[in-house]
Symmetry: C2
DNA sequence: TCGCTGACTAAGCGCTTGCTCAGCATGCTG
DNA sequence: CAGCATGCTGAGCAAGCGCTTAGTCAGCGA
């Protein structure tokens, strides 16, 4: 592990380079705390203390506790969509691209599992407007996977009876990794990614 | 949908038939509320009001809010383990039994998705002793699936390079259904179960 | 009729929550 | 040097939390 998950997320935030370092520490503390205890069980005092400040300092950088969650969730979803788009649009046939997509999607959810937990399991705590943004991004991710499966079917590489169900299964496998993967897991994220890539290709009826 | 998820759960509770109906209503309200908002965002007033009582009445039937969660979680896990054991021990070869297991596991997580959400996503809110009980049940479920895969490999029905990873993938697919399935989903739980059964068999390298 | 029990409520206690505000040190600018 | 913006703190407010308490009342065996 060469970088923390939040460091992967940080560059995707708008205006990240002009933001004070304190905002970064707050975001990091919030991700960790939301992932471990959930949004509602996390107090502003938890976040502020972990970031080395008083509770009041939080409100200089973020409007509210919910604004922190919204920022994390939107950046996390944007990063995931970018990852998926990059893999799906890369070189090779549908099978090769799908393998790469699953590998990277899995690695991301294993490595950035704290961000992943917030992104996937704290949606219900989002304010309505932030939820709308995030829901659209989720649809885009799902659509990207569906289209790649359709391309594989059209090329005769995949054999799938219901594309939407298959797409659900593919994303589902990856998302759930952020729930169960821990640093004490016997597989590295990369190993897991390779194995999941293999399993998914077989699931889609590709000759491996 | 002929019965509510909680009705499926109720018979598995110890001494359910001697328990007053009010306890049933409280449990039902708690499941619904925990599933929708999460444990910490749910107040004892929410639960009591939904069950048609004052907040104080809750404490006649349950020791605490956490005791309600523990009851739901333990009963839910016990029911799931029973389901998995029943399917794995039934008639037929490994492939046939695995198909049945995935079908039933999926149907359960789609139909009883409110219970499923509490069971799978509120573990962190459990008191330590209740968590220990539940963690043991989860291990048993995982082991049951692993052993069925091993039997399939031994019989030459499955081709799997890493049994534990494959078992993770199988349970993972089913568990995640409780996260995304809604009553507005286009597939019935039974349709989804059949399709997931098919996908899993291919994933495990079974000749379908 | 009686005392007793079990299910329940109205009121509220002690505490924690998200968030605010007056004030303070620091460092940049004219 | 004064003036001011910036980043922050200590103290604390209003609201809401889990849970308790004192008391009501219907039902029941003797």
């Amino acid at each position: 592990m060469t970088s923390t998950p939040i460091a992967d997320l940080w560059p995707t935030l708008p205006g990240a380079d002009t933001r004070p370092e304190a905002a970064y520490r707050l975001l990091q503390a919030a991700v960790e705390s939301f992932a471990e205890r959930g949004f509602h069980a996390t107090t502003t005092r938890d976040i502020a203390t972990a970031a080395g400040m008083s509770p009041a300092a939080l409100y200089i950088h973020y409007q509210s506790k919910a604004a922190l969650l919204a920022e994390i969730s939107q950046a996390g979803h944007a990063a995931t969509l970018t990852l998926v788009r990059g893999a799906a649009a890369g070189e090779g046939g549908p099978a090769e691209r799908m393998r790469r997509l699953v590998e990277q999607f899995t690695v991301w959810h294993a490595r950035a599992r704290t961000v992943g937990r917030v992104v996937n399991y704290e949606l219900h705590a989002l304010p309505e407007d932030a939820y709308a943004v995030v829901a659209a991004l989720r649809l885009d991710i799902e659509r990207e996977v569906s289209e790649l499966i359709e391309a594989g079917v059209a090329a005769g590489d995949f054999q799938v009876s219901e594309v939407r169900t298959a797409a659900r299964a593919v994303t589902s496998l990856g998302i759930d990794v952020s729930r169960w993967y821990t640093e004490r897991s016997s597989e590295t994220p990369e190993e897991l990614g390779r194995r999941y890539g293999e399993l998914v290709l077989r699931m889609l009826g590709a000759r491996v």
